[in-house]
């Protein structure tokens, strides 16, 4: 089965589709609330971009944690579906960015969400494995938002400029981009390795 077919299959699954609908409904709601009725400043993007970043971080961490102990093929498909979330919400971002005319560059707004969703998916995977090891995976529904809130709090409190998806949705931070890229790479390398191991085990079994 090709990667595209795997992603398509994962994306049409009930949990993904329902969360995608909820995700887009939330973005729609933000646009409805923040889009100016007549003349005046248009600041829709400054509400939409942090909302989108926070939701992507939550979805990435949540799916990463929930599927940490699933087969590598399934996790890859989920990661692909999460990237589909980013692309599917890009028109909301592009439209509000265009109308709001922010100082943050377009490449930041267009590129960083891809890194963030993969980075938080990696963090979620680590969290899920740790929870499985400690046999507290029952509490993942609480642990995921708690870890996210803790990371943002630590980021703001300690001035790390590394994890906060809200602030850096509208402000350029090279440190944030570097941390997100590093985490995304770690996640990608980890999956490649586990994929290769699974392939080797399959061929040995044959």
């Amino acid at each position: 089965m090709s990667a595209l077919a795997a992603v398509a299959g994962r994306a049409r699954s009930a949990d993904m589709l329902q969360l995608l609908a909820l995700y887009m409904a939330t973005l729609f709601f933000v646009v409805a609330v923040r889009w100016p009725g007549g003349a005046g400043s248009n600041e829709a993007w400054f509400a939409l971009a942090p909302t989108r970043a926070a939701l992507l971080a939550l979805l990435g961490t949540g799916f990463g944690a929930a599927e940490a102990l699933r087969p590598a093929r399934r996790r890859r498909a989920t990661a692909g579906a999460l990237l589909l979330f980013v692309v599917a919400s890009a028109p909301f971002d592009a439209a509000t960015y265009a109308a709001s005319y922010p100082a943050a560059p377009l490449w930041w707004s267009a590129g960083v969400p891809f890194l963030e969703v993969l980075a938080y998916w990696t963090l979620g995977t680590g969290l899920g494995r740790l929870a499985g090891l400690l046999r507290i995976d029952t509490f993942l529904a609480v642990l995921v938002p708690a870890v996210l809130v803790g990371l943002v709090w630590a980021d703001v409190r300690l001035g790390l400029d590394a994890f906060d998806p809200l602030t850096y949705a509208v402000h350029v931070s090279w440190r944030h981009a570097a941390v997100m890229a590093a985490l995304a790479l770690v996640g990608g390398a980890s999956h490649l390795r586990s994929g290769a191991r699974a392939t080797a085990e399959g061929s040995e079994g044959a």
């Binding site: 609908a21 005046g40 439209a95």
Partner: protein
């Protein structure tokens, strides 16, 4: 007593530094007499010193709103011998004002002023060998200062804080262009008594006895306290600050309108539904279709919703003319959509309470997103296009002047370049609100006309013994 006070203020304003034969002094205000809330002349004199940078820091904040800092920076050339650098800087009412003249190898001069030095009273400048003799002609509260003729600059903006320039011919003569600049800048220039033959050029500025020149006038009077007091009493200065405010009262630029909310929400809903349906029922082609749809909607949304420019600007100029000269009072409005610095290439001051900085590249104001600022540019002189000449109204410029109107007389139609006409009673019309605001601040008999981005005003000839109203 007065002289001692003047010397004390001058001592505060001027600091001389002498090290290894170098000398440097910084003077703010006409002869060191600063007027808060106006443009002031600034002069730096250095002797045998390298090139330096003058930095002025003005805190115009208060205890409630905190510090609000205005910065001015200029490069002062150096070299052997004496180098004089002159400019005009707007000094708002301040809490503190500090300056530093720093070269590559250290500070050449520095100084500071406190809030009590921020005197906003206009200057009554006397150029005389015996300035005390004229003190009684000015009121008790008047700020009479004695200034040497050589200290009078030839720039109209330098006289923003000056009300009167009295010259009695007993001291060294000021340059005629300095006196003309003062008059055109809005100063009541009074030539008292018979001027010596060496100062005949100044007398010529007054014409037959009194003559309007730009926003001010030059008047000859007898050398007596009563005559001078009378000349001061009849003078009604052009209210330059209020004219600038009136010029900026109506917004010159407007923020772009966003697309209608119902349209945006309809498209967003249709897009979201299409994407969900494509993913649910489309399989692999559905994923490809969803990706393609996202790209198409993003590009279309960008093209449809993006405002044409990040920064919008418009300028309006009021040319306050009398005779052949006009004082240009310009307001430039800038509106920025992204947060950042807006800049104009000339020295200017914001009309709202905002920190800003001025340097060789112009004036820069940091603004929040979707915010605008009105900037009053430094006043300057130009040739008057609209003039009263021999009882006729004349267009001496190269552009057509429309909606010519004489306050108290009525509409006069259009004036082609080079054309002139006798002022006749016309229809009294209120005119647009922004023009009506300006009319209320101008004396009766003033003529107004609209040119490209410019509103021309010809102030009426001053009443003299021979008359001369239009």
């Amino acid at each position: 007593m007065l002289l001692a006070a003047l010397l004390a203020v001058a001592g505060l304003l001027t600091q001389a530094a002498s090290a290894q034969g170098r000398e440097a002094s910084v003077t703010i205000g006409l002869g060191g007499n600063l007027v808060a809330g106006t443009w002031n002349p600034l002069q730096v004199t250095v002797r045998d010193a390298p090139a330096a940078t003058l930095s002025v820091r003005i805190d115009e904040g208060d205890l409630v709103s905190g510090p609000r800092v205005v910065r001015y920076q200029a490069a002062v050339p150096g070299g052997s011998g004496v180098t004089v650098f002159s400019d005009d800087v707007y000094v708002p009412p301040f809490r503190t004002l500090a300056w530093t003249l720093a070269g590559t190898d250290g500070v050449l001069a520095s100084g500071s002023l406190g809030a009590r030095d921020a005197d906003g009273r206009p200057l009554q400048v006397v150029v005389s060998a015996n300035p005390g003799a004229w003190r009684a002609a000015f009121g008790a509260d008047a700020r009479v200062v004695d200034v040497a003729a050589s200290q009078l600059p030839g720039r109209a903006a330098a006289y923003d804080g000056v009300a009167t320039l009295l010259i009695d011919g007993t001291a060294a003569a000021p340059r005629a262009e300095s006196v003309a600049a003062a008059a055109a800048g809005g100063v009541n220039v009074v030539l008292a008594g018979a001027l010596p033959s060496s100062q005949a050029g100044l007398g010529a500025l007054a014409g037959a006895g009194v003559r309007r020149l730009g926003a001010g006038q030059v008047r000859r009077v007898e050398a007596s306290d009563d005559a001078v007091a009378s000349a001061l009493a009849v003078w009604r200065p052009a209210e330059r600050a209020r004219l600038v405010s009136a010029l900026a009262a109506a917004p010159l630029v407007r923020a772009p309108r966003s697309a209608p909310q119902p349209l945006v929400l309809s498209v967003a809903a249709a897009y979201a539904l299409s994407t969900l349906l494509a993913l649910r029922f489309g399989g692999r082609p559905g994923v490809v279709a969803a990706l393609a749809l996202a790209v198409v909607v993003s590009v279309a949304g960008w093209r449809f919703l993006r405002p044409p420019a990040a920064e919008l600007s418009a300028q309006r100029t009021l040319m306050l003319g009398g005779g052949e000269l006009a004082l240009a009072l310009s307001v430039e409005e800038r509106l920025t959509l992204p947060a950042g610095d807006v800049s104009v290439s000339e020295p200017a001051r914001p009309l709202s309470e905002l920190p800003y900085r001025t340097d060789a590249n112009g004036t820069h104001v940091a603004l929040a997103r979707w915010h605008g600022v009105s900037l009053a540019l430094r006043p300057s002189l130009a040739e008057a296009a609209l003039r009263f000449e021999g009882g006729r109204l004349r267009n001496a410029g190269s552009a057509v002047l429309r909606n010519v109107y004489v306050i108290g007389v009525g509409e006069q139609g259009t004036l082609a370049p080079g054309a002139s006409r006798v002022v006749r009673p016309g229809e009294e019309a209120a005119g647009p609100a922004d023009v009506a605001r300006l009319r209320a601040l101008l004396p009766a008999g003033s003529a107004l006309a609209e040119g490209p981005e410019t509103l021309w005003v010809a102030l009426p000839p001053v009443l003299s013994d021979a008359g001369g109203r239009p």
